[in-house]
Amino acid sequence: MDHATFTTAFRAALFGGPPPPGAFANDPDEVERRFAVYRNNVAHSLTRALACRFPVVERLVGGDFFAATARVYLQEDPPASPRLSQWGQGFAAFLERFEPAAALAYLPDVARLEWQRGQAYHAADAGPVSAEALMQAAADPGRHALRLHPSVAMVRSRFAVVSIWEANQPGQRPGGHLRANRAETALVLRDRADQVPVIALTEEEALCADALLRGATLLAATAGTEGSAAMRLLPLLMRVGAITGIAEQG
């Protein structure tokens, strides 16, 4: 048996097959139990990696349910590289079709929010523009668009994802009443202090933020919204350091 055949048999055994050919221990009755150490290491370490990325999902479903879910997910969509921070992009879509979690319809969107937070944490660095530069751009809004920090993303949901996320942070006691069937939009970014807050946006702010993310001019991004949305959003983006450049258009 060559080495490729051996590793293929070993891998199959990690997910339920018999121990690979040639595996032995001084006491042959112990082979299965000894092989189980590898089986447990793989399942446990990947489950913990997923839980680190999706702590609120874990808290919502409970540790045992999460571990059982992870064991199905990691076989269906295992990490494609040792960079575990890049693993889990498909977890939200998996949860959508994972029958045992169907009762929690908001769970996939919570996973989407947590995925974006992880991406924001590791996103590239970029320094903020000065307030003066923004003021100058705002003076001629039809010609200027904003470059936003690489960490900035939005998660739109027909569920109250921001409220659910906030209510399930460490130290928050569960039990408060929360109406989940209410649309919320989350703005996610990494701020100047390297924190990754989740900021609830109104519908108007979300439209404005969406346009800014797509590179629309300040004029286009604020058109159709009442001025108050931009009045809150732009200073907020400035304060957290999310405006990293001004692009001149035309």
Binding site: F24, V37, P82, H122, A123
Partner: protein, 278 residues
């Protein structure tokens, strides 16, 4: 510049402030390379700060050197970028495999020791060293099973890889104790048959214990203090080889920083006592 022959600690981000404010006397800090492969953010800022005060040891867990396939080229490129950015004093990896068919399994899986796998591992170490442009250290694993197809003792296998490729060895004394206990062999014999002059770094970590009908099954979990028999083996190594860069690994149930530092100080005492005895 090689790692200082002094104790070092595995860096945990929760200890960043403690290290930065107290600047403990440590020979080096070791980090897992894969945790610094994001585009930016706090991990890189922390590492850039730490390297101003400490030598760095870059320790990989994902190259899958013991697997049948060539090391992943993207992963090697990311390692090369990290090395040129942070200029670590050492790069090390494991005698194990962790990827299969493009999937990453996140564990250090065992291989039979045969002429075939020896050639594979040597080829992979050659490729890693030529791509990264530096000598690497290869770490002995903790194992829980043996393989009937193995024809070479682990120590012979490691010595052959070091001899053929010019790589150094990372001697994990806890792994020696864990594997020898699990396979009912004597760790002193294991240590007597490893060429200590190839050893560029020592690892010390904690292990867990289960009980099987035939005796203990030790599991390398880095979740507790280094066990006393491991300290005794370590003292034998140091008495023979002299002081070596020595890492305390504690990756799970990570304690507060003073507890971790006390383990490093214990390693320093072992090295000091060996020096006095000479």
């Amino acid at each position: 510049m090689p790692l200082p022959r002094a104790p070092g600690l595995g860096f945990k981000s929760e200890h960043f402030d403690a290290i930065r404010t107290t600047r403990p006397a440590l020979g080096f800090l070791e980090v897992h390379a894969e945790n610094y492969m994001g585009a930016g953010g706090p991990p890189h800022r922390q590492l850039a700060t730490l390297r101003q005060d400490y030598a760095l040891s870059l320790h990989g867990v994902g190259l899958s050197i013991g697997g049948p396939d060539r090391p992943d080229q993207g992963h090697l490129r990311r390692l090369r970028d990290l090395i040129s950015r942070y200029e670590p004093a050492s790069f090390s990896e494991h005698l194990a495999w962790s990827s299969h068919g493009g999937d990453y399994l996140n564990d250090l899986l065992p291989l039979p020791y045969t002429p075939e796998t020896l050639q594979i591992v040597c080829d992979h170490v050659d490729e890693v060293q030529s791509t990264l442009g530096c000598r690497m250290l290869l770490e002995n694993p903790s194992t829980y099973l043996l393989f009937a197809q193995s024809t070479l003792p682990e120590t012979t296998f490691l010595a052959e890889v070091a001899g053929r490729t010019g790589c150094g060895l990372l001697l994990d004394v806890n792994n020696v104790f864990v594997s020898c206990t699990n396979h009912r062999t004597d760790p002193v014999d294991w240590l007597a048959s490893i060429p200590l002059h190839h050893v560029g770094e020592v690892h010390l970590g904690g292990h867990a214990r289960e009980d099987l009908p035939s005796g203990p099954l030790l599991i390398d979990d880095h979740g507790c203090p280094v066990a006393d028999p491991v300290w005794q083996l370590y003292a034998r190594v140091i008495a023979q080889a002299g002081p070596l860069p020595t890492l305390i690994e504690w990756d799970n149930d990570v304690p507060d920083f003073p507890t971790l530092l006390a383990e490093a100080e214990r390693a320093a005492r072992v090295m000091a006592q060996a020096a006095e005895a000479v």
